[in-house]
Every structure is written in structure tokens, then in C-alpha cells.
């Protein structure tokens, strides 16, 4: 395993290159997921609070 991580004289170029890629892509994934979760939560709250004026389907069979 240590062999894998020891890239000799070029370690100072190889690891920053991969580290930068991990940082940028990891940050992008985390930011994208967080924004999606926040927006979808907000939308769910808004839709729950909104009084439904028209109902196309009535699966429960209750009167609207």
C-alpha cells in the first residue's frame, strides 16, 4: 500500500492534482445535493400550506 502512495520525486505534483480534483468535484456534489434538498423541502412546505382550490383526482373518495 505504501508503494501506491509513494510517487517518488513527483509526489508534489501528483497528489495536489488529484487533491484539487477531489476537492472541486466533492464540493460540487455536496453543494448541488444541499441546494436540491433545501428547495424541495421549501416547495413541499409551500404546497402543504396552500389551500387546494381544485382537485383533479380524489383517491380517498372523500368529498373535497
Amino acid at each position: 500500500m505504501t508503494e501506491v502512495f509513494n510517487m517518488g520525486e513527483y509526489s508534489m505534483y501528483i497528489w495536489p492534482a488529484w487533491g484539487f480534483a477531489v476537492l472541486v468535484l466533492g464540493g460540487l456534489v455536496i453543494a448541488s445535493v444541499r441546494v436540491m434538498q433545501a428547495r424541495e423541502r421549501e416547495l413541499a412546505e409551500l404546497e402543504a400550506a396552500k389551500p387546494r382550490r381544485r382537485r383533479q383526482k380524489n383517491p380517498e373518495g372523500k368529498s373535497a
Binding site: V4, M7, G8, Y10, S11, Y13, I14, P16, A17, W18, F20, A21, V24, L25, L28, V29, S32, V33, V35, M36, R39, E40, E42, L43, L46, E47, K50
Partner: protein
């Protein structure tokens, strides 16, 4: 088929059924790619261990161009057929493409220093990729520059189409001009001039990055569609209050 998925709800149903698969594919392919990149491939006979940078640099460069091609196609579909999800898709892809371009530039620089003796040269390949990065930034800025989002979509889509001319320039820059950058090895018409031990990690990372791109586009499109729906609901609420009060 295209028109069918112009409906955001129908698009979301399809996208959400694809999402778990692309997420799994991303993880498996990138983990396998990393194994082959670091453990199961030899150092290069000329470049030594620095060849390991290739396995992140080249797939990032592919994705930088692929994401832009995606934006060009999505923008054209949005402009011609007034496909609303196409514009949202183009907008979702832009930051992802910009990130891959940035990774391509940074890792290239870190590879250039030990191999060429310089971090940067103003030659055709490097300069055209830097222009690609600025095109992404311009696209994002222009899309968000208008209060009316549909005007921003249209303006940025036109910019994307014009900027599309940069893609063949990047691809053929190494053949058209004298450059420090090496020409293509994988996509040569006869046979790729690269050994399979190095081609395997390259392709695994490339397909893994593509799966990551699709996953991220779906996530970002979902966020944008939710945000548009929120705005529409808020506007309707204000409208109802004004009309009622």
C-alpha cells in the same frame, strides 16, 4: 419523444428513475478507475509516475468538452422548439462543465511543470481551453443577468451556440498549430496508440465522470424546477392576496 419530456413533471419521473443507477455507476466506475490508475497500471517509460495525473487530466478534458457540447445541443433545442426543460438542463450543466475545465487546467499545469518545465504556455491547446472556461463563466453570468429568466435563457443560449465554434478549435488545435501539448492518443482513427494497461483506467474514469455528470445534471435540474415552482406559487399567493384584499 423530445416534446414528451418538455413537460417538467414527466421529465422528473424519468430522471428520478434513472438517478439511482447513474449514482451507483458513478461510484463503481470511479472506484475501479482509481484502482487501475494507482495500483494496477505501470509508470510511463518516459514520464514516470507523473502519468498518474493523466487519469484525472484527460477525462476532465473530455468532460469539459462533452458538457459544453451538451449545453450547445440543449440550447439549440430550447431555442428552436421552445423546450423549457432544455434551457434548465443547459443551465444545470454549465457549473459542472466549468468545474471539469478548471480541473483540466489545474492538473495540466501540475503535469506541465515537471514534464515541460513550465506551469503555463500560451499555445493553442491551453489557450483554447482557457477560453472554454471563460465561455462557461460568461454563459452562467448572462443566464442570471436578467430579471426575466426567459430573456436570460435566450441570451445565454445564443452565446452557447456561438461559443460552440471553440470545440473543434480545441480538438484540432494540436494538429493545426505547433504546440507543446501532445496530440491525441486515444481517439486516433486506426488504433489508439496507448497500451491497454493505461487505456483501462482512462476509460473507466471517463465513463465514471460521464455518469457523475448525468447524476449532477439531474440533481441540479430538480433544484431549479423546484425553485421555479416556488416562485410561481409565491407569485400566485401574492396575486390572490392583492385580488382578495
Amino acid at each position: 419523444m423530445l416534446q414528451k419530456y418538455a413537460n417538467p413533471k414527466r421529465f422528473l419521473t424519468l430522471a428520478n428513475s434513472v438517478l439511482p443507477w447513474t449514482t451507483c455507476a458513478t461510484v463503481i466506475l470511479i472506484v475501479a478507475g482509481l484502482y487501475f490508475a494507482f495500483a494496477a497500471s505501470p509508470p510511463d517509460y518516459q514520464q514516470g509516475q507523473t502519468v498518474r495525473i493523466m487519469y484525472v487530466h484527460v477525462p476532465s478534458a473530455w468532460m469539459a468538452m462533452f458538457a459544453y457540447a451538451f449545453i450547445v445541443v440543449a440550447s439549440a433545442v430550447g431555442l428552436i422548439w421552445k423546450h423549457p426543460v432544455a434551457h434548465v438542463g443547459a443551465l444545470a450543466a454549465a457549473p459542472i462543465g466549468a468545474c471539469f475545465t478548471l480541473i483540466c487546467l489545474a492538473t495540466g499545469s501540475l503535469w506541465g511543470k515537471p514534464m515541460w518545465g513550465t506551469w503555463w504556455v500560451w499555445d493553442a491547446r491551453l489557450t483554447s481551453v482557457l477560453i472554454l472556461f471563460f465561455l462557461y463563466l460568461g454563459f452562467i453570468a448572462l443566464a442570471n443577468a436578467f430579471d426575466d429568466s426567459s430573456r436570460g435563457e435566450k441570451a445565454s443560449a445564443i452565446l452557447a451556440l456561438i461559443g460552440g465554434i471553440n470545440l473543434p478549435i480545441i480538438k484540432f488545435s494540436v494538429d493545426w498549430w505547433n504546440t507543446l501539448h501532445q496530440p491525441a492518443s486515444v481517439s486516433k482513427i486506426d488504433m489508439p496508440s496507448i497500451h491497454s494497461s493505461m487505456l483501462t483506467p482512462l476509460l473507466l474514469m471517463g465513463i465514471g465522470f460521464t455518469a457523475l455528470f448525468v447524476t449532477l445534471v439531474i440533481i441540479r435540474v430538480r433544484a431549479e424546477l423546484a425553485s421555479r415552482r416556488i416562485n410561481a406559487l409565491r407569485a400566485a399567493k401574492i396575486h390572490a392576496e392583492v385580488a382578495g384584499g
